[in-house]
């Protein structure tokens, strides 16, 4: 089974307005055939709106969507032929697993023999052979999820849209299904647009991330780029926890900024022109507990220590009262005075 490949899906200034609220403020995005793209953001950021616009379930307020140059935003969903996996799975409750999976094929009047063969294949692919004659209500959440995926991919759609498909599952199953989705993508090469609010999920699954906020694209990039080099303060805060230390900028050139925090000078990297009053974003695991004085060090007092197995999660406080979260292998105790060093390239200075 392999999807009908396309070269390029292009969203050109796609806008969507609900009454007075602008859900999507002119989204530009190009998706290449075979890619796994995640739309990431908190609720209300417009990610599901974007997905529904792609599926044809919501008409656009403005802009256009083209597939290899052919305009598709004026087609109804049944004419686009994109597969969609819904958050609540939307399995047809009155049909068996097989009939659910074969629904799209029978709508297309696929000959019986071919329908049987393709349903067999899809059911096998998601490992539901022993449940294929059951009804959705008799299946567990993870199994329903597999049916929803099989139903969407059996048509070998050029594009698979997934709307937070893992959010209704428990933690263990979520990890298992995540791997499953990645495995299916790797083996079938179906172009996928995946909507989620979970940055870990997005990082794990996607080839490319689109971070959204209030209907606007903040950053588009590979998981590594977005994780390690966020372009602004919002993305930095959203992609995993970062300490936001208030600082005063004393000097800056094209790449670096020298800042004062807690009476100490720190050097960090920047991706935008920063104002005098800024924040330095540092991940808890980028701090190293050191003994000697040196460049880029901060003095702090340990307040709370949590044991997390191999490492400890430490809450420390700078002299000016700023709280810091630190993850370290060193064994510390509350009240310890510590010195923390952070590499220059791990101090991200944002306005």
């Amino acid at each position: 089974m392999a999807g009908q490949r396309f070269a390029e899906l292009h969203l050109d200034h796609v806008r969507r307005v609900f009454g007075d609220t602008v859900a999507l403020k002119g989204m530009d995005l190009t998706i290449k055939g075979g890619e796994f793209v995640a739309l990431l953001g908190p609720s209300g950021c417009g990610k599901s709106t974007a997905l529904n616009c792609l599926a044809g379930l919501l008409p656009l307020t403005g802009g256009r969507i083209t597939l290899d140059g052919r305009r598709i935003d004026d087609l109804p969903p049944e004419k686009r032929g994109f597969g969609m996996v819904f958050q609540n799975y939307a399995l047809f409750p009155h049909m068996s697993v097989r009939r659910n999976v074969g629904f799209g094929l029978s709508m297309r009047k696929t000959p019986r023999a071919e329908l049987t063969r393709r349903v067999d294949e899809a059911v096998r692919l998601v490992q539901l052979e022993e449940h294929q004659h059951k009804f959705p209500a008799q299946l567990s959440g993870g199994q329903q999820q597999r049916v929803a995926i099989a139903r969407a991919i059996v048509l070998e759609p050029p594009l698979v849209l997934m709307d937070e498909p893992l959010s209704n599952l428990d933690a263990a199953l979520r990890l298992e299904m995540r791997t499953e989705i990645r495995r299916l993508h790797q083996s079938l090469g179906l172009t996928t647009v995946y909507v989620t609010h979970d940055q870990e999920e997005a990082l794990a699954l996607a080839d490319r991330l689109v971070v959204l906020r209030l209907g606007e694209v903040q950053q588009v990039g590979s998981p590594e780029e977005v994780y390690a080099h966020p372009v602004n303060r919002y993305v930095a805060g959203f992609m995993g926890y970062r300490n936001m230390i208030p600082v005063t900028v004393t000097a800056q050139d094209d790449e670096r900024a020298t800042v004062r925090a807690d009476g100490v000078e720190l050097v960090g990297v920047k991706s935008e022109e920063v104002a005098d009053s800024a924040v330095a974003a540092v991940r808890p695991e980028d701090f190293a507990v050191v003994t000697e004085a040196g460049e880029n060090t901060l003095d702090a007092t340990v307040e709370i220590v949590e044991y997390h197995g191999r490492e400890q999660a430490v809450e420390a406080r700078l002299r000016d009262g700023t709280q810091l979260h630190v993850r370290t292998n060193s064994r510390l105790a509350p009240g310890d005075a510590i010195r923390l060093r952070v590499p220059v390239e791990r101090v991200l200075v944002f306005s």
Binding site: A55, P76, P77, E78, G83, L91, F92, F103, M107, R151
Partner: protein, 304 residues
């Protein structure tokens, strides 16, 4: 040293466990709240029904306990009421249910003026049969608006739409439709709209979505709606008198029962006719509900 629990404590422990044991068997004090309702049903439904049932087996002249039933079916005039009533009740119920589907389907979403439209569709419930009948007489009568327009359009004589079968049917539709509509709307709102969206993304056209998703999930609800609409229409009485022809074309079972019991003072025979009415309704409902068991009746994934 551990103190032994006092006798009193032990008793209170046992009392607590008795309540627990009862709860295990599904007995709950809250069930007492059902008593008023149960008494109400027994006094006002079960007793009168059973009284009528036994009365129907005691014909006025004595003799064969089934004599009333034999008389009913051997007299063509009374036997025909079964057919007359079915001929009114079945089409009225069927029309109300079928007409409510497309309207309810359109009324699901949010749109401007929805509340006003719903009110307009539901208002006939509040009118009462008598007012509806008067309106029908005025509107569809020989000199009513309808016939004036009808004549003006070139008809030779006024259409006869009152004091016959059609008048009663119109009346049943006007009063019965709001019930059918409200029920259908609530069943339809209970179907998760993402199911239709999912079907659309799988390539199903509007018509295919309606046929393969909406209709199968709605059908059990429609069966119930049909049964209720039918019961409502089958027991037609006032409109059969006022806009019908109660001695002939619309001599329905309820009129026959009323006349026998209160005009001819034959309560036993009247009861027998009432029992037969119940029997015919039960047969129709039974057939519909048996058909319903062949349908999918589980969750429809909705929030309503």
């Amino acid at each position: 040293m551990t103190a032994l629990p006092s006798l009193r404590d032990q008793r209170s422990l046992e009392r607590a466990s008795l309540k627990h044991r009862l709860a295990e068997k599904g007995v709950d004090r809250v069930l007492w709240l059902l008593v008023p309702g149960a008494v109400f049903v027994v006094l006002l439904f079960v007793y009168p029904f059973l009284y009528g049932l036994q009365l129907s087996f005691q014909p006025k002249g004595g003799g064969n306990p089934f004599q009333n039933y034999i008389t009913f079916f051997s007299d063509e005039y009374s036997a025909e009421t079964v057919w007359i009533t079915l001929r009114l009740g079945l089409p009225a119920a069927l029309f109300n249910v079928l007409a409510s589907i497309p309207i309810a389907f359109r009324m699901r979403g949010r749109f401007r003026g929805k509340r006003a439209l719903t009110t307009l569709l539901v208002v006939p419930i509040t009118l009462g049969t008598v007012l509806t009948a008067e309106g029908l007489l005025a509107f569809f009568g020989p000199t009513g608006w309808f016939n004036r327009i009808w004549i003006a359009l070139g008809a030779d004589e006024p259409a006869k739409l009152t004091h016959n079968y059609w008048g009663v049917l119109f009346s049943l539709v006007i009063t019965g439709f709001p019930f059918a509509f409200l029920l259908t709307l609530s069943y339809l709102s209970g179907i998760d709209p993402t199911l239709e969206q999912a079907a659309a993304t799988l390539g199903a056209s509007k018509r295919q979505r309606f046929r393969t998703i909406t209709m199968p999930l709605l059908a059990p609800g429609l069966a119930v709606t049909f049964c209720l609409s039918f019961v409502l229409a089958f027991s037609v009485f006032p409109s059969a008198v006022m806009v019908g022809n109660p001695a002939g074309e619309t001599h329905v079972m309820s009129i026959a029962a009323y006349e026998t019991a209160l005009r001819d003072n034959d309560f036993a025979m009247g009861s027998a006719i009432a029992m037969l009415m119940a029997l015919v309704m039960l047969i129709v409902i039974g057939v519909v509900l048996i058909w319903r068991t062949t349908l999918y009746r589980g969750a429809t994934g909705g929030k309503g």
